[in-house]
């Protein structure tokens, strides 16, 4: 009797202090995030509705003028188109390649850790530095791709593609680098999904006479579909909002053929000094981000993980 009473009192005081304590422990982190993510975001919306520039200290409210200006500029539409093309093509390639690579990595073999380390390099190395490596690979005079192509005979002696100087090739180059950079991430995510499939399901199917392809398309693929979608969503977010690859390789050129929304926002807002215009451009990234976040939450809820 006495014992239960003591315990109960102890629990209630604990519960009280616990909610109080957890609030104190959470508050600093939330405050930081509100001040350094929430506040700048609102400021970005405010700038986009004003005439803010780098040079002037005062702001006037100008309504939707900046958005009208953005929508009327042909560069913006070009940048939006480029961003979509680069994102869609690179992610499509990544879905296919990442699934193939993840399946090949499922087996246990000697030196697996080394292969995994080499495969992860592009994702782990700073993007700006990896892109510098590609700048050298795509060099107009010393391109190793061209040299090898000629040595093997794929390129005729009079052919010498200028990778970053010709609009279509430049776009292809940006896509290649994005695939290169994000393929490792998609692969490790899908690999984790594959490893979580219980082996006995696959064994049972094999005993029942299902071959590799049948097992793959009827059991494995549907089971890793949600996790593949997660990988693609991250890929879309990281490609759609990136400006680093473009900035390092082409600065948006030639003739804006590789200009993307994020790089255009930088050139307008920071280099051009038109903060209001730049803010308006960058806000066009936001709807896609929200859509991806919602999809991510839906998938997470469906698979009942949280």
């Amino acid at each position: 009797m006495n014992v239960t009473w003591v315990r109960r009192e102890r629990w209630t005081t604990l519960a009280d202090s616990e909610s109080w304590l957890s609030r104190i422990m959470l508050a600093p982190a939330i405050l930081y995030i509100v001040l350094l993510v929430g506040f700048p975001f609102l400021l970005s919306i405010y700038y986009s509705l004003s005439d803010a520039t780098v040079a002037s200290r005062t702001l006037n409210f100008v309504g939707l003028t900046n958005f009208e200006r953005v929508v009327e500029s042909s560069t913006f539409w070009l940048a939006l188109r480029n961003t979509l093309i680069i994102t869609i093509i690179s992610q499509t390639i990544i879905i296919v390649l990442a699934n193939v690579l993840a399946l090949a990595l499922m087996a246990d073999f000697r030196g697996r850790w080394l292969v995994r380390l080499l495969i992860l390099l592009p994702w782990v190395a700073p993007i700006s530095l990896g892109s510098i490596g590609w700048l050298w690979i795509f060099d107009s005079i010393y391109s190793i791709i061209n040299w090898s192509g000629r040595a093997v005979g794929i390129l005729r002696p009079d052919q010498w593609p200028i990778w970053l100087g010709e609009p279509t090739l430049a776009k292809a180059s940006i896509i290649i680098v994005n695939v290169w950079r994000l393929l490792p991430l998609a692969t490790v995510i899908i690999l984790a999904g594959l490893s979580s499939i219980p082996q006995d399901i696959l064994d049972a199917a094999a005993v029942d006479g299902a071959g590799f392809w049948r097992r793959h398309f009827q059991i494995t693929a549907p089971l890793v579909l949600p996790i593949t979608l997660v990988a693609v969503l991250f890929g879309i977010i990281f490609t759609f909002t990136d400006m680093i690859v473009v900035f390092v390789l082409t600065r948006g050129g030639p003739y804006d053929s590789t200009q993307v929304i994020a790089s255009w926002a930088y050139f307008t807002g920071i280099q051009g000094g038109d903060l209001a215009g730049g803010a308006a451009v960058s806000l066009f990234l936001f709807p896609v981000l929200v859509a991806m976040a919602i999809l991510l939450l839906v998938i997470a809820r469906r698979t009942e993980v949280t």
Binding site: L14, S22, M25, L26, P28, A29, I30, Y32, I33, L36, V37, P40, F41, S44, Y47, A52, L97, V100, L101, L105, A107, V115, R116, L117, I119, L120, L121, V124, A125, P126, S128, L129, I132, W134, L135, W136, Y142, I144, W147, V188, I189, A192, S196, I227, V230, I237, T241, I244, F247, V248, Y266, G269, I270, L275, G278, S282, L283, A300, V305, T306
Partner: protein
Amino acid sequence: MMRAATARVKRAAAVGGRIGILVFFTTFLAFPFYWMVITTFKTTQDLHNTANNPYLFNDPPTLEHLRVLFEETQYPQWLLNTAFAGIMVVAITLVLAVPAGYALARMTSRSAQTLGIAIFLTYLVPPTILFIPFSRIIANLGLQDSLWSLVLVYPSFTVPFGTWLLMGFYKAIPRDLEDAAMVDGLSRFGAFLKVVMPISLPGILTVIIFAFTLVTQEFVYGLTFITSSSSYTVSVGVPTFLVRGDVYFWGSMMAACLIVSIPIAIIYNLFVDRFVAGITLGAVK
């Protein structure tokens, strides 16, 4: 008999196919780094002679590019800057994310769950949406050209990610441990410090690694806030400053990229499974 033979052929084909796939992908993904190694140790003359086979060392290997990088550029300073920003950001991240992650893990209400996910989602807000307002905020704070601007802003993505990772970690620690400690007379907070903290060291280490890696990788804020070359971090300094002008010092640039990328890759590789479990919202473990 025939059947066994076909099975053997099939198995050999599967193994061969797998090796082929792995060789192809490893070549594609690791080639730029292999190319950095070759370029780093080649003489400039060799690099610029288009008649030479670029895969071979036509002149003996040289350390000249490394010497130039460390003696004639600000690269050592950039390494120090990156380390400084990294250490400060890691410290801020831990101070904020450890208590927050723990509190979220021990709160069982529905709203706490939602709050945890909301914090994680702020990690997805990219610098390319926030850098324009930040450029003005940093200028108003007088932090332009100062590494402190990066120390202030980088936790805006390391704290959400760290909090989320640690929340997962603390959830895995059974509550009974703390209850037992409290029965033994420790306070609620004392139980957290003396019992939970030591067990969660691997989680804290993971957050340290990721926060540091994110700092090293970040480019957009660094490019926006800092204009004087002596305050650059490595990821901004190499592409903006070593490329400037007409002459590209390819050997030194490739060395600069390698020296940073390889150590990070090796350490990161040890923790990548936790990273995956974190960003997939725990869908795989």
